[in-house]
Amino acid sequence: MKTEELMDMLSADVTAVKRHALTRTIGVAIAMRSVLAIGGALAALGIRGDLADSTALAYMLAKLAFALTIVAVASIYLTRLARPGGENRTNALVIAAPFAAIVLLAAINLLLAPSSHWDKMIVGNDWLECILSIPIIAILPFAVTMWAVRKAAPTDLVRAGTFAGLVAGGISALGYALHCTDDSLPFVAVWYGGTIALCTLAGAMLGPRLLRW
């Protein structure tokens, strides 16, 4: 095929491109999945029953804030990474910020408590439920996010996959936080942080396979 022919072909009847179409696709995918993940978590696990207690409410809000920060920051970066060359305009280290913050808070929390409480604070009651629920709830948001990014044109597939995994993990934690009754910062740091990091790692590994275009 002659290159001239190809260019003629591509230039016959060029349709106008909608501005911000890409940001919208990714934004809608993430927002939709967040609502569905929260709905799904509520339907499958139910909301925690002790919200009348102000400490319980405060912990739930703190967990939600942690998850929401991750989703928000990761979404902004993901939208950039979905465009060719976007990796040159992102600093992958921001990914560590929310994790560093929660680990720091957890460490302070532990230091202020007697060491006999440490086991209970870290392990909590339902750590197993937590490490199973977050990755499972994350599967669908992950698939939808990857699909949206694939429609764009990421040129650093590992990094785009990483942030897609982080978004999905964050969305999932958002849903699980409504149910979770383990109220300690070390618990959140270890089990939430760990499972979200796991989703992120899965994204980094699957990115090059799933995002090729």
Partner: protein, 185 residues
């Protein structure tokens, strides 16, 4: 900012607004840059320059199909360069003979020009089109190859006008995928 960036970006903005002539001119100018870029790179990794045209066409298709990912608030040349580089790495991986990793510099001047006009890739457009779903093929042949209007093509094949447009877009995507498969190993 170079005059080249300013000119190319102006063409891109017009093309995003649906101006076919600007789109054609943009592709034409970019094809020369792409050709120079790929020839240089292929030589550097010890491959034949003959392969350059396949890559030029693959990159042009990608630029066309992914033009919605260009953020108009940024420079155009880095966007084009990122696509060109991505397609090169993807191509080298797919067609790699040995297991060696090939370093491609991340940032480089994207200014060289290659005016070799009568160039052809190894792809056979007829054979590629024959592999498309029937409606996509009809839409592309009508509008893109025979130069009929969308309305004429729609009437001839009993599709709606938006159906023709959707089928063209789908068909070009399949075409891009077929080209990637074709150059595999």
């Amino acid at each position: 900012m170079t005059t080249q960036e300013i000119e190319l970006k102006a063409l891109m903005l017009a093309s995003l607004n649906g101006e076919a002539a600007s789109h054609r001119m943009l592709l034409d100018r970019l094809s020369r840059h792409l050709r120079a870029y790929y020839k240089r790179k292929l030589v550097r990794v010890g491959r034949s320059q003959e392969e350059a045209e396949d890559l030029v066409q693959e990159a042009l298709l990608a630029i066309h199909l992914k033009r919605h990912t260009y953020d108009t608030g940024t420079l155009l040349t880095p966007w084009v360069h990122a696509i060109a580089r991505y397609k090169l790495i993807d191509y080298l991986r797919r067609t790699r003979a040995s297991g060696s990793e090939l370093p491609i510099e991340a940032a480089e001047e994207f200014t060289a020009f290659d005016d070799h006009v009568a160039v052809e890739s190894t792809y056979d457009i007829g054979r590629l089109l024959a592999q498309l779903p029937i409606k996509a093929r009809q839409a592309i042949e009508g509008v893109k190859l025979e130069g009929k209007t969308v309305a004429e093509t729609a009437a001839r094949y009993g599709m709606s006008e938006s159906g023709v447009k959707i089928n063209i877009h789908r068909g070009l995507k399949v075409l891009a995928a077929l080209i990637r498969q074709e150059s595999r190993g």
